[in-house]
């Protein structure tokens, strides 16, 4: 919202962003797991001014019946914004933007889940934005993925996501609203599976050269890895310390613990394999 008469910032000269961040710095991100007792899995994310809830219900019977797929579960995400979450009141009816975001979120999440294990079912994911300031869809994806893990659904990997792009003449991570409204703004919502670097969400608006794009994607992946650490810690906080919510019956909770334990073991295993292969490479050299 740069007002007329005010000078447009130039990040190349300023070396600092409008909110004082460094070029490759995320806004403060905090994640809480298991905040909605009714749901099978849930998460609450505060990312800068963005505040979003995510819940997962299922796998449950997919209805109406024609939506069922006999080979896999259908992941159906629904993205919504509260009427008061934007500066002008939003019409509560879902608009085209909401529908598009719901679709790309569903598709990203589907890649992270072993959908083939649950034929004919639907995994319903609901994300609700109650306050926003640029980057709400990546906040939703981060929340939804953590909620999915909280629900104990078998997953290939978490999804880590962040906004990245260009504003005021510089490549920057996690754009805020003021940067998104910059005259040369390029916004790239990016979501990856952090252990394999597979890209599952990618959109872009704006003009970028090839060279700039390379910088953007490198910075974005670096940012996603930071988000991944925060996601892991949030999940550990709930499961490792035995902070299992009372609404879980104990059997379920134990199972969940086992699952996260397994996941973490797998991760450690992967790391070890990586280390080993790197050592081998060095030896060969």
């Amino acid at each position: 919202m740069s007002k007329k008469g005010e000078e447009i910032p130039d990040y190349k000269k300023d070396k600092k962003r409008v909110d004082g961040r460094k070029m490759d710095e995320l806004r403060p991100l905090s994640i809480k797991v298991g905040v909605i007792p009714n749901a099978n899995g849930s998460a609450y994310v505060e990312w800068g001014q963005n505040k979003v809830y995510a819940t997962v219900y299922g796998p449950r019977e997919a209805l109406p019946k024609h939506t069922q797929n006999p080979f896999k579960a259908v992941v159906k995400a629904t993205y919504r914004m509260a009427a008061f979450s934007v500066p002008d009141r939003k019409n509560p009816r879902p608009n085209r933007r909401d529908q598009e975001i719901s679709k790309v979120l569903s598709e990203a999440l589907e890649k992270s889940v072993f959908v083939e294990q649950f034929p004919n079912t639907e995994i319903s994911v609901f994300v609700e934005v109650i306050d926003s300031n640029a980057g709400s869809r990546v906040a939703c994806l981060v929340a939804a993925s953590v909620a999915m893990a909280d629900a104990g659904i078998p997953m290939r990997d978490l999804i880590s996501a962040t906004g990245v792009g260009k504003a005021f003449n510089e490549i920057i991570l996690d754009l805020n609203k003021e940067e998104e409204d910059a005259p040369d703004a390029v916004d790239v919502p990016l979501g990856i599976l952090p252990n394999s670097d597979e890209i599952v969400l990618l959109q872009m608006d704006g003009l970028l050269t090839k060279e700039e794009w390379k910088k953007v994607i490198a910075l974005g992946i670096k940012g996603c890895k930071q988000v991944y650490e925060i996601q892991k810690n949030a999940l550990k906080e709930k499961f490792e310390l035995g902070n299992v919510s009372e609404s879980d019956d104990s059997g379920n909770a134990l199972e969940k613990k086992k699952e996260t334990g397994k996941k973490m073991k797998e991760e450690k295993g992967k790391e070890k394999i990586k280390e080993r292969s790197e050592k081998e490479k060095k030896v060969k050299k």
């Binding site: 919202m1 905040v35 909605i36 007792p37 009714n38 749901a39 849930s42 001014q49 505040k51 809830y53 995510a54 819940t55 219900y57 449950r60 629904t78 919504r80 509260a82 009427a83 008061f84 979450s85 934007v86 500066p87 002008d88 009141r89 509560p92 009816r93 879902p94 319903s124 609901f126 994300v127 609700e128 109650i130 306050d131 926003s132 300031n133 609404s247």
Partner: protein, 263 residues
């Protein structure tokens, strides 16, 4: 499977209610723990998060300008809408507002509007031309029953913070600048009861609402008025029962008011 468990719980609730007991160990006229949090939404002119036991509701206020109604050219207005988000309960579905949501929104709206807590004539900007409309939208985030009361408290908290935006010379809202605050003359508190197995229960949970024969809500003010009433779902009450509930509602209202007026 789920419906079998639900059916069992419903019959259990009815059985227990006949002896004046409840599934969560409360007394029949006991309210769940109320916690409130305000001002979380930076884009709203007022916002609140209300928890009633495990029920959680978020609400926000947006002030918009509009043309006054022809029959009241020197008055502004309010509009309150409720939404039961599918994220709040496995039984809720997305879609246009259901009749349940319309009823909740309207009962909460009436409780505040009819108490004359807000002086609508102060919302007028220019007679017959321009006035303020306060839009409250509230959403169930986790639903364990009694969205009525949680929503009404959340809506009231939003109005209590209500900032009035500044207008530029073309009557456009200047973002982030305010001329003043909404004034509330009263604090109407909505209180809801259900009748299960012949026993009247205050502040029903989701299962108790499912098991209910009848529902009754009343909005009370600190100066001894009732602003709105609503009897809901099938079933019936006797006049004596209604009196009893009104008596209790004033008592509950006092407690809740003491808690929220501190903010």
């Amino acid at each position: 499977m789920r419906s079998t468990i639900l059916e069992y719980e419903i019959s259990k609730v009815v059985e227990m209610a006949k002896e004046g007991k409840r599934l969560d160990g409360r007394k029949a006229d006991e309210m769940r723990k109320l916690t409130i949090e305000t001002g979380f939404a930076g884009n709203a002119e007022g916002s609140a998060r209300v928890r009633l036991g495990e029920t959680e509701v978020v609400a926000g206020l947006k002030m918009l300008t509009g043309v006054p109604y022809p029959d009241s050219p020197n008055e502004g207005s309010i509009s309150i809408g409720a939404e039961l988000l599918p994220l709040a309960n496995p039984d809720y579905e997305s879609g246009p507002p259901s009749m349940v949501e319309v009823e909740i929104g309207r009962v909460v709206d009436r409780g505040i509007r009819e108490s004359k807590a807000i002086d609508f004539s102060k919302l007028c900007i220019r007679e017959g031309e321009l006035s303020w409309i306060g839009f409250i939208d509230f959403y169930a985030i986790n639903s364990d029953g009694n969205i009525f009361d949680a929503g009404a408290i959340a809506a009231l908290l939003c109005f209590m913070q209500g900032k009035i935006p500044k207008l530029d010379e073309k009557d456009k809202i200047i973002k982030g600048e305010f001329t003043g605050k909404l004034e509330l003359k009263r604090l109407p508190i909505l209180t809801t009861f259900v009748k299960v197995g012949g026993t009247i229960l205050l502040d029903p949970t989701y299962i108790e609402e499912k098991a209910a024969e009848a529902r009754f809500s009343v909005s009370t003010t600190e100066d001894g008025f009732m602003a709105a009433m609503q009897k809901g779902i099938g079933g019936s009450f006797k006049a004596g029962e209604i009196d009893e509930m009104i008596e209790k509602a004033f008592e509950v209202g006092k407690g809740v008011r003491a808690k929220i007026s501190k903010l």
